[in-house]
Structure formats: C-alpha cells, structure tokens
C-alpha cells in the first residue's frame, strides 16, 4: 500500500503505532480545543491559561500526569477482574473504529468492503464496557448509569444505521474509500465544481446521524448515563486515576471517531473535488489535513450542542428515538431509494 515496499511486518507495526497514537491524540485535541477553550469561551470564562505558556495548552497533559499519579482504588465489594477490564473494553472499541477510516488515497489500515457497517458495529462495543463498569462497581449510581447507557445505546443504534443507509444507497458502496471517491467524482447536474458532498442531498441523514451519535457518545442532551446532577458520574463514579483516564480517552476518542465517520460519509472525507485536479501524490499529504479540518467542523457542532442544551429524561429520550428519529430515518431511506431509481 505504501509507495516503498517495506514488508508486511513493518507496515503492520507502523499502522498499529499510528492507530495507538491517533486515539489519545485525537482525544487530547478535542478535549483541549472544545472542553477547555470553546466551552470556556461560551461560558464567558477564560479556562486554564497558565500551563505551558500559550493559552494553557499543557493543561490536559498535566491532567493526564495527575491521573497517572493517583491511587488506583477498587471498591471492596467490586468484581475485581471485570472492574479492571471494563475501561479497556471501552477504549478498544474506539481503536477498532479507526481501522477503516481513510485519511488519504491509501492512508487506511484496511479498506473493508463493509466499512460503514464495521465502523458502526464496533463503535457500539463500548456499551459492553460501560455495562461491565456499572455492574462491577457495586455502586447503585453506577448501576443505574450503566443500565441507562445500555438502553440508550441500543435505542440509538437504529437511527444511526438508518441515517447512513441513505448515503450507502446514493454512493452505491459500503466501503468508506468508495463513498469518499463517489463524493469526489460525482457532479451536481453536470457541474462538478465541488464534487458532490452527500450532505447536500442527505441533510436529513446528516442531522439524524449527528443526533444519534450525540446519544451514542452520551453527550448532552443525551447524557443521562453520566448525569452529574443525578447520578454523580454514572458508571464512572468508582473509577480513579488511570482507569478514569481510559474512560476520558474513550469518550473523546469516540467523539473524534464519530466526527471522522460523519465527515467521511457526508462531507467528502479526505478528498478534495476531483475536478480541482490535485494529483494523488499531493493528496497523500493534503488528505489528512483536509479530513482533520472537516472533523473539527463536525466536532464543533457536536460540542456546541453539548454545551448549550439541558438533558432529556430517559423516557423522553426513548420516545424521541422510537417515535421521531426512526420514522424519519425510514422515510429518508424511502425517498432516497425512490429518487435513486427515478434519476
């Protein structure tokens, strides 16, 4: 896949290393930009300004170091092994999502034919970790939080998938690279100035996807599993130190992953419109940057909502999913299919 053949072993090692670095880095970038800076600005505060010199960029790393130093507490009545393993499950599911997300013409770990399906499937593995954490903590708040998380993630998996079906129908492929190249090469009624980012026709799908991914990420207005004013911190309540850091990385890493998926599916991913005539060689270097810019754009929307809205109640959340999002998603598929056949 790379230009120089360096043997599959080395390639694998490089890929593993990149993915291992990517998740914490993405989590840090989102955490710093949105949690510390954008949120502070929206709430008319400064946020941390001192550590590191420039606008307190070192704060999150400092926080990480602090977490590592903390004592790793396990409640006396906890199911020790499950308790210890749960954060890892959450983070692993985040790592797995990144395997199929393309960041350039050939910068992808494995371009699966069912890439979309795979990404959404592994992203919901994290609910197992959440349930494990809640159950093993031997804490009622944690248990309530975990059960809420499970109910919520199951309910919102469906609108998430339905939102994506429209894209798959229009692009005609489930491979993420295929979807990217379709958006780059297609034209709008013969005009190919900006390619054909699918958000133009799949606005409903895009909005549905953002809402559902907000719920999958357990962010406000769907943050009942960690509702700090009710359940203190939900399933995370008994975790300290490094294991808590795992949950933090999992949360923001998954936010990064979902932003990447929606940027790829709806905004054209790493690619610039084919008509601009940028060569493949240049795109190898430009692609990750383009993707990153789009990710930050989508992430801004996600976090903007997070910092603005209050929290729904559990029954209202379920009603929203089953009564509104899923019917709208189905109608969107029907419309997309009809138009696809008609044109």
């Amino acid at each position: 896949m790379l230009a120089i053949d360096i043997g599959w072993g080395t390639t694998l090692a490089i890929k593993t290393l990149v993915i291992l670095m990517l998740v914490p880095t993405g989590a840090l970038i989102l955490g710093y930009t949105f949690l510390l800076k954008v949120m502070s600005h929206m709430q008319s505060r400064l946020g941390p300004m001192d550590p590191g010199g420039f606008h307190g960029w070192f704060q999150l790393i400092g926080d990480g170091i602090k977490f590592i130093q903390k004592e790793d507490l396990t409640p006396a009545e906890a199911d020790r092994r499950v308790f210890a393993f749960a954060p890892a499950v959450v983070v692993i599911s985040t790592f797995l999502v990144f395997l199929v997300i393309p960041a350039g013409p050939d910068i992808v770990v494995k371009d699966l034919d069912v890439g979309v399906f795979y990404a959404l499937a592994v992203s919901s593995l994290s609910v197992i970790g959440v349930l494990m954490a809640g159950w093993a903590s031997a804490n009622k708040f944690a248990l309530l939080g975990a059960l809420r998380a499970a109910a919520q993630l199951i309910a919102y998996e469906l609108p998430l998938l339905l939102a994506v079906v429209g894209v798959v129908v229009q692009a005609g492929t489930m491979s993420l690279q295929g979807i990217v190249s379709a958006q780059s090469h297609n034209s709008i009624f013969g005009w190919n100035g900006i390619g054909f980012p699918l958000v133009l026709t799949q606005v409903v799908g895009f909005v549905l996807f953002l809402i559902a991914s907000q719920a999958e990420l357990t962010q406000t207005p769907f943050d009942m599993p960690v509702a700090e004013s009710e359940l203190v911190a939900g399933y995370m309540v008994e975790y300290t130190g490094f294991r808590f850091l795992f949950f933090f990385i999992g949360e923001f890493g998954t936010a990064f992953a979902f932003a990447a998926i929606s940027a790829t599916l709806f905004l054209g991913g790493w690619a610039l419109p084919a008509s601009w005539g940028i060569s493949v060689g240049v795109m190898r270097f430009l692609g990750p940057g383009v993707l990153f810019a789009k990710i930050m754009g989508v992430a801004f929307l996600m976090f903007w909502v997070r910092f603005t809205y209050p929290r729904l109640r559990e029954d209202q959340l379920q009603a929203l999913a089953w009564k509104f999002l899923i019917p709208i998603g189905l109608a969107n598929i029907l419309l997309t299919g009809t138009l696809k056949v008609a044109f």
Partner: protein, 394 residues
Amino acid sequence: MSTTNPPLPELEIDPRLYRHLADAQVNVELDTGDMILNLGPQHPATHGTLRLVVRLDGERVMSADPVIGYMHRGYEKLTEFRTYPQVTTLINRIDWLSSFANEVPFIDAAEQLMGIEAPPRAQYIRTILTELSRIATFLLFLGEMGLQVGALTPAFYGFRDREHILNLIEAATGGRFHPNFNRIGGLKDDLPWGWINDTRTAMKTVFDACDTFEDLVAGNEIFEARTRSIGIIPPEVGTSYGVSGSNLRASGVDWDLRRDGKPYLAYPEIDFRVWTHPDGDSFARYWVRLQETREAARMVLQLLDKLPSGKIMAKVPLIIKVPEGEIWAETENPLGQMGYYVISRGATGPFRVKIRSASFSNVSILPWLLRGVFVPDVITILGSLYFILGDIDR
C-alpha cells in the same frame, strides 16, 4: 390555619406500575424488590448536605425521606448567649445567599420591642439592599436550575451576573456574603459616593440577564419538557405544608408578605406586582422567580428615585437593653416567609429566639411531592424548590 394537615390527595400511580406489581405477585422470581438509594448527604444536586433516602422501583420513586440536620449549628440556642447587636452576625449565616434579608426581621423585632423606629432613609436603604439580595439569590437560582436539568452553561451565567449585585452589596456594606450592616435603630453607614448610579447601571445588566435566562433556559424545549407538569404542588397542599414564597406563588396563591403582611420597611410606599402562576409545577416556579427578579430590579429603581435624605440612625442608648416582652416579626425573604419569635426578659440579649425559616417548611413537602416520580425528576423538583441547607438546619 388548622393544626393538623388535611388528608393527602390520592396519588395517581401509572397503570404500568400496577401491572408490574401484579406480575411480581404471580411470579415471585420476577419480583426484583425495591432499591434503596441514598441521595446525599454529599450529592451535587442537594447543594449542601441534605440526605434523601429514596426507595426505587426501577427508576421510579416509591418513597422519599429527607434526612436533615447534617448542618445544624444551633443558632437558636446561640442567640441566647449573645447581645442583640451580636445576633445579626449569627443570623447572617442562616440563609447565606441572602444574608441581608435575614437581618431585617430580627432587627425589626428588636426595634418594635424597644419602640424605636429607624429613619426613613435607613428604611429605604434596607429595602434596596433586601431587594438586591433577592436579585442575587434568584440570579443564582436561574442559572443553577439549568445545571440541575443538565445544562452547564447557564450556571456560569448565573454566577457571572450575580457578581454585579454582590459587588454593589460589598460597596455599600463591606461584606459580600455576610454584610452585618443593620443596627438597631438604623444602619452602620450611609451609602458610598456614586453607589446610586452604579446600582442603576447594574439593574440594566439584571434585566439583560433575565432576558438571557428567559431565552436560554425557560424558552428551551428540552427544559420545558423536563419541568412542565413535574412536581405539581396544589395550592391547598402547599399551604397545609407551610410552603411559602415563590414556591407558593407558583401554585397560584396570591400571597406576599411585602404586600399582605404587617407593613414593614418601605414596601407600602412603592408600586410592585406580585407574580403568580396557576400551574404549580417546576416550570411555574422557575417562571415566577424569573419575573420576581425583574420586579425586584424595578423596585430597586423606584426606591432609588424616591430615596429620601436625612439621618440613617435613630437615637439609641449606648448599651442596648430590650424591655420585657414577646414579639413575632416576619418578612418575605427570597426563599419565602422568614420570621423570628423573640422573647425578651429585659437583658442585653434575647431570652429565647424561635427562627421560622422558609426552606425548612418548603422541604417538608418533599415526601409527598416525590412519590411516583422518576429519579431525574427528583433532581428537577429539588432544584425548583430552591432551598438553602443553612436555612433548613440553622
């Protein structure tokens, strides 16, 4: 008012719950039992140390028992060992968000026993500061209510806007939280130079802040969905539990001691509207406090216009001795009806003081109010009742 409470209205239980109970009876293995959840004493939603023992069936509350006393400081007893001027220092700390308003009824009681009346200017300044502390308390509530239903941002706006008011109180009295500014017969100091203009400017920011909260919180669909028809207090139940203040006015009871009670301070001389809301739910309580914040700002502007000149201290003896007697003085505090029953035996300090604080009675309705609601609604209701732990435990 009768001494016994009227029988509790029958609680409507969701039919789904009946079905669940019936299932549990038929098939004993399915009976999961109730879960006892301890909310507090250290829980972010109780802002202080209120403990709620909640029996849950799933997420539905079967019963809730508030346990109080974690913050009991024995102020009623302590007042017996203080002189009258020293007592204000203590009662500052009952409801710490609106401490100035706490001083007023006690000073009122002492002045009435001694037969002293503070000069008009002092009365006006007292009224202004009472209304300012009302604004400060409510601005915090308006933001914090957002936090209780999950929106973080309004809480920061609440703190930010309250800062203007606290600065004013500090400029006038020297203390941000515990002014201890009232004296028997008047006030410690006159207003500082330029304070009146600063206050006028600050009232503009209060109006702006109220608009922001109306837009950002009260106008939000999710907030409405979370608070409408949650925690309804019918007027007769509210009065029977002794709920007072904005909580009662949100149930449609048009009762405000500033207008309906024994005239005190400068309230008889200004125009103001008593806001009520017919619904009695959490949203109504939010809405009423929002309107009362605006009304308080309007009252402050009125008072500033009418502020008379003159002395701020009446003639009082050097050593204050209150003649024998008993008296009950009550005022409309931000949290509700606040009163002191003072018994004097002619010494320099009170013989006995009974403090009637609003939050204590407001919280007593919780076991009735919380039956049958969901866990998230518990937090909404706690937030909308707006109690201060110091005001409950004293």
